[in-house]
Structure formats: C-alpha cells, structure tokens
Subunit: 419 residues, 2 copies
C-alpha cells in the first residue's frame, strides 16, 4: 500500500470514528462550536490571508487567468463573508432528530423513522478556498464528519482555514477529526477517497465537469452532483410576451456563468415572428449572441446557425441558442432529449399546457412563468445550499441541510418474535 493510500485510509477511519461522536452532540453543542469556528476564522484572519497570498503568487507565476485568480483570492471582505456564513449556519434549524414517521404494527411493535446524519462525507472541490468552510460547516451542522480535498491552487489557503476551524472547534468541544483536510492535492488522492467506501458514505464533488466525471468513474459510494445546467425557456403560443421577454433577460443575462442560467430558448411557431424580434432586441442590447435553428434564421438571416452541438452546450456565457418549435410536444421532447434535467421553464397562459409541461419535463425544477434563476437553496428558502443535484436518488434540485441527512428505523418492542 502506498503511503498516500494509507494516509487517506487513516483519515477515513478517523472520520468514521468522529461520525459516531457527532451523533451525540445536541443542536446547542453544534451551534456553540460553529460560533467558535467563525470567531477563530476571524482571529486567524491575518494567517489565512498570508497563506492565501502565497497561493495567489504561485497562481500568478503559473500564468493563471484573471478569472481563475479571482476565484482564488481572499481579502478581508471575503474573510468576513466566510465567518458570516458560518454564523448563519449556526442560526439554521438542526434537521437531525426529526421524527419522519411513527407507527405501531398489529403485533404492538412500534416503528419510529427518525432523521439522522449521513455519517461521513467527502467534499472534492477546486480552487475556491471558501468552499473549505462553507461545505464543512453545512456537513457539521447536519452531524456529519467531513473530509475535504481542495484543489492544489488553494493548498495553503485551505490548510490555514482548516487549521483555524479545527482550533476554534476544538476549544468549543468539537469531536476530534470532525473536519479534516486531505494534505495532498495530487490526483491519486481523489482515487483513494473515491474507493474508500468502507469509511465514506457520500462524496459531493464541486467543480467542473472533468472533476465530476473522474469522481463518478472511480467512486464506490454514492455521489451527488450535477454535470451541466442546460436550462430551457419555452415561450408558448399563449404567453404574455412582455413577461416572456423579462424572464428571458433575467434567465440569460443576470448571471450567465450560473448553472441555472438559460442556454436554449424554445419559441412556439405561432408567436415566433412577433416574439423573436422583441426578445432578440432586448438580449442583443445586453450583449447576447444569438444562434438559431433554420426557422429562427428565416426570421433573422444574419444569425449564426445553431448546430446539434449547441443544443447540448452549457455556454455559461452571453450566448443563447434559439429554436422555433411546432408546439408543446416538440418543446418537451427537445428538453428531455438535449437538456440536463436541471431547470426548465414554460411561459404560458394555458393551464393545461402548464400542467403537461410540469408533469412531462423530466427535470429537477420545472417552472411556469418564472425565471430558472430561482433554482438555488437560498431562493427556495433553505437558508443555505451545499449544491444542486440533477440525480434522482436521495436529493434532487437545490440541497440544504435536510439533504445532508439520512434516517434510521427505531423499533420498540416488548418481546416480539416473528416465528
């Protein structure tokens, strides 16, 4: 066994042990620990910023893009946001212990289904150092032990943040090894984590599609993830066109880099000639490049043609693919064929069409008459978000604290036997 593998197995064993200690904590215990962690992040702010400066200098020396460096950089404002985020989680309700069901069988055996922590969670992420505290405290609040494995670019920053969390937590009674950071950033460490199903109950990868593909290929335990956000807006024949324009502008332009931003606009043929000029003018004014199918090009001959590839591309940029469709069935079919099961919207005044769209579009969040940009834990009212799932098992759509829990069955008998 390589030293690396052995070291990661050791972290796993420690996490499993910590998970057993974590179930003994009350909500008050956890909140006290979280507040101490927030305080310690602030108290060690200078050390964290100094460590971050090392990472940023290395990134600059390596010639990373300005966008990549921006993701990496910490400053006093971002540090304060990090500590503030931890305090916010302390203020959220504790999902653990909730009784989900409670019934008694004819033989008198009482069955209680109770919400419990999942156990041990691995977080594999890339260059944003704030994920170190954001993910760890959500996992901690829901009673889970965490193993964090951040990207190499943020190595010193992550070490400093994790050290502050450990020191702050320890002083307030956090179980040992409740939050651990993998001290390696080579790719083999991802493999060893993903194969360690004896000690990790779940992996949540946060980052680009390449990272997620790698984790999914290797993992022996469940992985919660989304690869893409190829989100659609379908403007139906009966849509209020001013409303549709507003929704399209928001869904495409408010934050083009978000996974819940619109990538493809589908327009009912009955309104294409009226609606497309309106929405195109508004979008172009905001710098959006439009690409159209044949029928869109018939209205706007100067557009670049949208190819098969465009229907499956998450631009994450001010680009929009546009297609004129023959109606609701064609729209649903396009979304279920090319979409990524993330967030899709119909703008319509026809209730029957709205209901069919809601029922038949196979996506985590399906909208009638609202921007897809609301697919977000905060916007749903969850108070926090660990990520968005386009999987269908365990958690789908935005994931808050509740989605970081499991359940167990507690059976209360008086000597029942099955015979």
């Amino acid at each position: 066994m390589s030293d690396l593998k052995g070291e990661i197995l050791r972290l796993g064993q420690q996490a499993k042990k910590a998970a057993l200690d974590l179930v003994k904590l009350s909500a008050e215990d956890k909140n006290r620990i979280l507040l101490a962690i927030a305080d310690q992040i602030e108290a060690e702010g200078a050390e964290i910023l100094a460590a971050n400066a090392k990472d940023v200098a290395a990134a600059e020396a390596k010639g990373l893009t300005a966008a990549m460096i921006d993701r990496l950089v910490l400053n006093p404002k971002r540090l304060a946001a990090m500590a503030g985020g931890v305090r916010k989680v302390a203020g959220l309700p504790d999902p653990v212990g909730e009784v989900l069901d409670d019934w008694t069988r004819p033989n008198g055996l009482r069955i209680v289904k109770k919400r419990v922590p999942i156990g041990t969670i691995g977080i594999i992420y890339e260059s944003r150092p704030n994920v170190t505290s954001d993910a760890a405290v959500l996992c901690f609040k829901s009673g889970n032990a965490t193993i964090l494995r951040g990207g190499s670019e943020a190595f010193h920053s992550n070490q400093a943040i994790a050290a502050a969390m450990a020191r702050g937590g320890r002083g307030a009674g956090m179980p040992e090894n409740a939050i651990q950071l993998v001290p390696f950033t080579d790719r083999e460490s991802v493999r060893h984590l993903a194969e360690m199903d004896a000690y990790l109950d779940l992996i949540i990868p946060r980052g680009g599609k390449g990272l997620i593909e790698t984790v999914v290929s290797l993992a022996r335990m469940p992985v919660i993830k989304h690869y893409d956000g190829i989100c659609h807006t379908f403007v139906d024949a009966s849509a209020s066109l001013p409303m549709a324009t507003e929704i399209c502008i928001d869904a495409k332009c408010a934050k083009p880099s978000a996974c819940n931003a619109m990538e493809t606009l589908l327009v009912h043929e009955a309104v294409a000639e009226t609606f497309l000029p309106q929405v195109a003018a508004a979008l172009r004014e905001r710098g959006v490049e439009l690409r159209g199918d044949e029928r869109t090009l018939a209205i706007f001959p100067d557009l670049k043609e949208a190819t098969e590839e465009d229907w499956t591309t998450e631009y994450l940029d001010l680009i929009l693919a546009v297609k004129v469709v023959s109606g609701l069935d064609a729209a649903i079919d396009h979304i279920n064929t090319y979409g990524s099961r993330h967030s899709d919207c119909i703008v319509t005044a026809d209730e029957a069409n709205a209901n069919r769209f809601l029922a038949e579009v196979d996506s985590a969040t399906v909208y009638v008459n609202a921007s897809t940009r609301f697919t977000d834990g905060e916007e749903f009212g969850f108070g926090a978000e660990i990520g968005i799932s386009t999987d269908k098992l365990h958690a789908r759509g935005p994931m808050g604290l509740v989605e970081l829990t499991s359940y167990k069955y507690l059976l209360h008998g008086t000597g029942q036997i099955r015979g």
Copy 2:
C-alpha cells in the same frame, strides 16, 4: 463498439423513452396493466414451466447443488404465487403524485415538491426466476421503466416470464419497453449496464456479495444494496432473560439463511453466567453451533473459540458467535466496528440504555426488545419489498414502493425574475 454494448445501449434508450411514457399513466392505468400481466403469467403457465424445465435440466447436467436447483425450480404453486404477487402489487397504493411539500416564497413563487418515479431502473440478479416478475412489477407500479438482467441458470425461465409480462401488459396499454429483459447473461453485459448512466438512473443488484461487489465497482449511477446482514443481539444486565432467550431463538433459528438473522450474541458480563447456560441449552437443542470469545469459553470450555473472522462473518447457518462484554459501551462499539449496519437489537429493561443504543448504533434498523427478523418490507407494513438497504443515501432499511420514487420541484410563478 461491440454488438453487445450496442444492444444494451439500445435497451437503455428504449427504457428512457418508456419512462417518459410511464409518467403519463394514472394509478388506474397501471393497476389494469398489472392485472393483465398476472392473468397472462397464468395463461402462459405451461410455456413458462416448459422453459423452466429446460433450465432445471441444464442445471442438473451441470451438477448444481440441490439448494441451487431449488431456487431455480418453478411449479404450478410457485407460478400461482408469482401471479398472486403481481395482483397484490396492483392493490397497493400508488406513491406517485403525492405532494411532499408546498410553500410560497415572499415573492409569490409557489414551490410544490411532488413525488415522481425515479425513471429507469436496472435489476441485476441471480438464479431465482420469480425476481423477474417481482422486481419488474414493483418498478412498474412506481412508474419506472425496468431493465432486467437475470442469471444464466434461469435464462429460459426469465425469457418466458418476461415475454408473458410484455404480452399481458401490451394488451392493457403498457408503454412499449416498460419492462425489458437483457437477452445476454455473460458478465460483460453487467459492465455495460453499470456504465450506462446516460440511460439508467439506478441499479439494484440482488444476489450474493460477489455480484454486488462487481456492480458497485463498475457502476456510474447509484446502486442500492446490502452486502451482508451481520446482525447482533445485546443482552443487557437488566434484560428479562426469558424474553432474551425467546428473541435469540427467533433471531437465530427461525430462518438462519435470512439477512436479518442474528449472527453474533453479545451478553453483559453481569448476566453472562446466568443467561448463557439458559440460551445455550435452548439454541443447542435447535442444532445451533456456538463459538465463543475467551470469557464465554470460561463458562463453556468445550466451545470452539470465536476469532476476529467470526465477528465479521455472515454465517447464514445455524452457527452463532458469542461474546461477553463489559457493558453498553462495549456492545455499541463492537456492533459499530464489526456489524454491517443492518439490524441490531438490545434486550433491556433500562430505558436510558435503550435510548443510547437506539441513538448510537449506526444501523438501518435498531431494536429494543424484539427479534431482528422484523427487518422486512412486509413486516414493516409496506405491503411489498424490493430489497433492504444498508446504504445511507436515498433509502435505508426495507424498501417498498415509496423507495422506488424520487421527487421534483414544480414552481408556479406570475412572471417572477431574480434580478
């Protein structure tokens, strides 16, 4: 691409299409189809039995054990049970469409969380041909398209059962390809299924540990499973010893081959000298071989010594490992170290100990004063069971129809944008 892989991808594409058709069926549609399937299984009984006779003859020629052949054999009684099982599923409530949550955000956006089918489910199983109909109809009732891949021993039986289901279902309006059987039984077909995450949302392997290990290693989609049932009974100092003896006899002897049967007995040192002779006499009378740790051997010097290996062995036989422990902490520690997170019991009259055991034993079902044999979908009142999960994601413990569903969020707006 090999022909095999191409053929399995084709099944996957067909299943995904069928899943989109299945969401359009009402509970009444599904029940009508299920009853037609049951009728057709009976109508084609002679063909199914003839196909089964071929499999049995081949198994005998290959020299399979009597136990293996018994698993394979169909007869009129088992056929009737198969059809009866389908009719029973038709009578169960449909979980699809249930509103799990419904709230309105301050901006007026209404969010409805609704139960929906998972989509497409692969069932990979071994030699019992009844799994072909049992698993398929549970998946169908919960609105999922199924791809079945049975073992080579039951190849002809499975083909005949699947053909009857397809014919019966088709006549009653079942969407095409809602239930498909992989017409290959070589190991490569398992690999192709497990890698096909574009078209399969979930795999449920049913069979021995080797099969499950293979599926887990290869799968890119979620897998719900249990490897072992290493179930414990801990007899506390305050236990009613007659109750403890009854529970031990039931948990060990009623069906030793069941995954919820007891494999290890833990006895509090304070009652070991009183309890062990009682329970040992009762168990030995029923043919149980006892293996003991050092402290058990001090009471019964003639026993075989239990080694480290015994603590992690699922005997599935009339063998029981016995250990004397110093108390509750040692019992919980033993179970969390060596157990399989399946079903574990404390026999006690001490409420505080019962509550600590329930809270701290990290298993799917944890019992106070009842036999672990109740870990079963029927015994829980679910009406049916697709399997038992020792995973912590999505489903834990016995899984019925509800555990074969997911949910989606339906957002009803009036033009809301996020800005």
